[in-house]
Each structure stands twice: as structure tokens, then as C-alpha cells.
Amino acid sequence: MSARSATIDRLYGARPRSRFLRVSAWLAAGLVVASWLGGGFLRDPIWTARRAANLQRFLAEVAPYPLQGRPFDWSEASVWAGDIWRDHLGQATAATLAISVVAILLAGLLASLFAVWAARNVSRPDPFLAGPRAEPRVRRWPWTAVVVLARVVLTLLRSIPEYVWAFLLLALFGPTAWPLVLALALHNAGILGKLSADMIENLEGPTLAALRGAGASRGQIVLGGVVPLSLNRFLLYLFYRWETCVREATVLGMLGMVSLGFWIQDARARNHYDEMVLAMACGALLVVIGDLVSALAREVVRRA
């Protein structure tokens, strides 16, 4: 018994410990507690008579307009919903889906262009060969500059939220679909680009070095080695990000452009909460379908 506990004590004493992790845990906990204490989230009374009245009015107005003040009836509700769908929601749902698709394709294109230059094993005088110190510093620094520049651009693209991009681009391009598409494309290009660059850096060196040894140029190695090796993973990331694109495409319309968000904002401005919730439901349905399609596509890619 005592021998066993000595072993356990020794294992316990030798367990990996990191001061950084301990400090991080305390920091995270402190941040959350301080935010709750200092944020004043519970300062306002949660339940007041005015809020109760507000909620009651909202719930009354969420019922489809022809049915307000009457018992709910599925057939009438579906006629009401069908009319609105044919009038504009159907088109807006299709537009939302289309925006997400164009945006993710554009994001994928931009990301692959940037990722190659941001990957440290490609962007160097002798791609994929030997350790980084083997090359003279004079030949190294232009490539280091390329890597840093590409990564800074990707970070800027990624750190600014889609909504802010769309807000800024709307002023530039006017109310077409482009600001939405570009906003989603830029933000996601930042994310996909960083993920892809890291992925390329983690590719197995010897395979690519062998191509180099056989005399392939940088471009040939990228097309003949990097692309085939990383395409599957890249497609997985692409579909993951597409799921968030579908979500965001709805919301960005609230800035005043084609997509479901436009009609959500429109119905809200007119206090037509029934139509607002219907448009939100279309968006939610689109998200659920998108998630299913994406899961299916990812499964296919994973097996390919």
C-alpha cells in the first residue's frame, strides 16, 4: 500500500505544471468576475411593469396579423405565411443563400492566394529545404518581409467583423449585393488564409523537399505538392466557414441591402413583429439546412 502511494506521489509530483496556465486560469476567472461585478448588468431591475406590458404587447403582435386576437389556426397562418413568402421572403431567402455561396468562394480564392505567401516553408529562398538558418541572411529577409506582410493583412481582415466591413463597404459601393459579399469574403479570407497558411507549414517536409530535389520550381511544388496534400483539409475549413457565412448573410442585410435582414429591419421599423419573426424563422431554417448540407459535404470530403 505504502509503495503504491509512493508511486502515485512521485507521479503526482512529476505532473506537468505550467505557471503560465495557472496565471491564465486566474486571469480568466478574474476577468469574468470583474466583468459581472463592474458591468452593471444586474443594476437595472429585470422585471418592471413597463417591461411586462411591453412583452405582452410583443407576444400579442407576434401572432400572424389576420389571426391577432383570435385562436390560432394553422391553415390561415400558412396562407398568410405563403403570401409573404411569394411576395418577398422567398426571393430574400434565395438571395441570402446566394450571398453566402459567392462570398465563401471569393474568400477561398483570396485565402489561397495569401496563404501560400504567408506560409514560412514556401516563402523563403529555398522552399522546403533545410533549416531556416542554412540560408544567408541577405537572401532571407525579403521573404521574411513577404511572410510578415501577408500575415499582417490576414490579421487585419480577420480581426474586423463582417458587420463592420459591410458598414464601411456600403458607403463605397452603394446598396448592391457587393458590400455584403465582399464583407463576408474579406473577413473569411482572413480566417481561411491563416488556417491554410498554418496547415501548409505543417505539411510533411520530405515529400515537398523531394519535389524540390527533382528540380520543381516553387510554383510547381505548390500546384503539384501543396495543393493536392492540403485540398481536403482546405475544403473542410471552407464548409465550416460557409456555415457561419449563411448566418451572417442574413444579419448583414439589416444595414439596408438585399437579404433576409433587410426585411427583418423593415418589419421591425413598422412594428410588424409577426413578419419580423417569420423572416427570422426563414433565416433559421436556412441555417439548419446549410449546416446539414455542410455536414454532408464534409463527410464526403473526409472520405475522399
Binding site: 410583443f58 459567392v102 487585419l156 463592420v164
Partner: protein, 301 residues
């Protein structure tokens, strides 16, 4: 390169079919989308006003404002950098506070939605020690797991800004409503990913504990969870980074986070100020990204 990648290389490339079909479908979807949206490449060429705006706006990218650009600054207004720091603080407070309910709800729904937890209960039920509890778990398990997955899917199918709009309409504007608006879809996303991570955690330890006669709860806590915890922590930190962006965007709806100032400065044509606020947001995001990278490096290896 992960093990499956290496396996794929040893196997040689599979039939080109599936991947090619996916790529072709993607392209077809892209063409359909461009036609549906009536996208015109000429629309990418801004008019003269657009170019002027682009030049004015991007011209300030390298010279963000360090003090207010407006001529008539109301007396008592804090200097720009103080106001930017204050907005950054509000953004961090919103994001950090929202993570607490998100993680709690996400853990509950994630545990409930993971099949591994219920599988460990079932395996024990089969092995003969059929307590009433084990039998209950083995029959109710799949049902509870489906319900948890459904709830988390519903929560995350509505975007946080739409939750915010919904709460604004139903309750009126309060910081708590905004906080819950962020927390609900984040809980749904965390639950989905937590459930997947628990299900994909290595099983040998859990099997050994089960053979030794540990209770399902012990198998879960000491056999499965430790394997999934590093990934779960890293993912939670990544969601915190996302929460920072969401909190910033909530500013567009009147909450005093960074988005509020970005919108206000842009509408006043104070582009230098816009860049100041944008760079503050970038610094926040990059800092959290660095932190989560350091934590991940120490946890995962």
C-alpha cells in the same frame, strides 16, 4: 500532418470522383448564386464619389487619429484615446461576462448531447450490474441526447444580433438583454463542439476504468473528460475572441462598445477616428489570439 493524412498518402490518392464532384457542385452553386444576385462586375468599380471616399478613408489607415477630429468638441468630453480605451473596456466586459452563461449552458447541453456519456452508461447496463439508474440511463440516454442536440441547434440557428433585435422588441434595451443575446447562440455553438470533442476523445482510459468497475460518472469525469479538456479550453478561448467581435458589433445597436464609436465617427466623416477604434479592436483580438495560442501550446502537447 495528422495520421489520417499520412494514411491517405500511403493508400495513394483515392478515386478522384467524390472530391471532384464537390468542387464542381461548389462552382455550379457559385454560378447560380451570381445569376440570382444579378452580380455585375462593373458594380465593383465605385463611382467618382466612391473613389473619393475610398481615397479619404483608406488614406487615413496609416495615420489614425490621436485626438478628436471634430471642431466643436462638447466640454468635458474625454480625450479620444481615453474614450477608445473606455470603449475597449466595455467590449471586453460584454464579451467576458457573456462567456460565463455560454460556457455553463454549453457544458450542460454538450454533456447531454455527447453520445459517449450515454454509451458508457449503456455498456455498464449490459455488463450485468443492472441498477435501476443504469437501466434508466440506457433507455433515456438517446432521447436526452437528441433533445440536447436539438436545443443547441435551435439556439445557434439564430444569430446573436437577431436575438438582440428580438429582445429589444420584447423587453426594451438593457445591457442584460444584449448579454443574453450573445450568450444563447454561443452556448449552442459551444455545446455542439463540446459534444463532438467529448465523443472524439481517446477511449482506452475510459474502457480501462469501466473494466475496473468505475461508475459511469467516474468513467466520464476521469476517463473521457481529461482527453477532451485541452481542446475544449482552447475552443472556449477562441469563442471569447469571437465574443469580442460580437460585442463590438452590438455597438451598432446603441451599446457603448467599439462598434458604437466606429459608426458614429464614420457618419461624422472622422475617418482617422474610425481607424483608431478599428486598430483598438484589432489589438484586442490579436491579444486574445496570442493568449489562446500560448495556452493551447502548453495544454495540447
Amino acid at each position: 500532418m495528422t495520421a489520417p493524412d499520412r494514411a491517405a498518402m500511403v493508400r495513394g490518392p483515392g478515386p478522384v470522383g467524390a472530391r471532384l464532384v464537390v468542387l464542381l457542385l461548389l462552382l455550379t452553386a457559385g454560378v447560380w448564386s451570381a445569376v440570382t444576385l444579378d452580380l455585375d462586375l462593373r458594380g465593383l468599380w465605385p463611382g467618382r464619389d466612391g473613389w473619393q471616399l475610398a481615397a479619404d478613408f483608406f488614406g487615413r489607415a496609416l495615420t489614425p487619429a490621436l485626438s478628436h477630429e471634430g471642431v466643436d468638441i462638447p466640454p468635458g468630453a474625454p480625450p479620444l484615446l481615453v474614450s477608445a480605451l473606455h470603449a475597449a473596456m466595455r467590449t471586453v466586459i460584454f464579451a467576458a461576462a457573456a462567456m460565463l452563461p455560454s460556457v455553463v449552458l454549453g457544458l450542460l447541453l454538450g454533456f447531454g448531447g455527447s453520445t459517449a456519456w450515454w454509451a458508457s452508461a449503456r455498456a455498464r447496463g449490459r455488463r450485468g450490474s443492472v441498477s435501476a439508474g443504469a437501466r434508466l440511463r440506457s433507455t433515456a440516454g438517446p432521447a436526452i441526447s437528441s433533445v440536447c442536440r436539438l436545443v443547441s441547434a435551435l439556439l445557434r440557428s439564430v444569430h446573436e444580433l437577431l436575438w438582440a433585435v428580438l429582445f429589444l422588441a420584447a423587453f426594451g434595451i438593457t445591457p442584460l438583454a444584449a448579454l443574453v443575446a450573445i450568450a444563447l447562440p454561443y452556448a449552442g455553438t459551444l455545446a455542439k463542439v463540446f459534444a463532438e470533442m467529448i465523443d472524439e476523445a481517446p477511449r482506452p482510459a475510459a474502457g480501462a476504468l469501466r473494466e475496473a468497475g468505475a461508475t459511469p460518472a467516474a468513467v466520464f469525469c476521469f476517463g473521457l473528460l481529461p482527453g477532451a479538456l485541452p481542446d475544449m479550453t482552447a475552443y472556449t478561448l477562441y469563442r471569447f475572441e469571437c465574443a469580442l467581435r460580437s460585442a463590438a458589433v452590438l455597438g451598432f445597436f446603441g451599446f457603448p462598445t467599439l462598434g458604437y464609436h466606429i459608426a458614429a465617427s464614420f457618419e461624422n466623416l472622422y475617418y482617422g477616428e474610425v481607424w483608431t477604434y478599428l486598430y483598438v479592436l484589432v489589438i484586442l483580438v490579436v491579444a486574445v489570439d496570442w493568449w489562446s495560442g500560448q495556452v493551447r501550446r502548453r495544454l495540447v502537447t
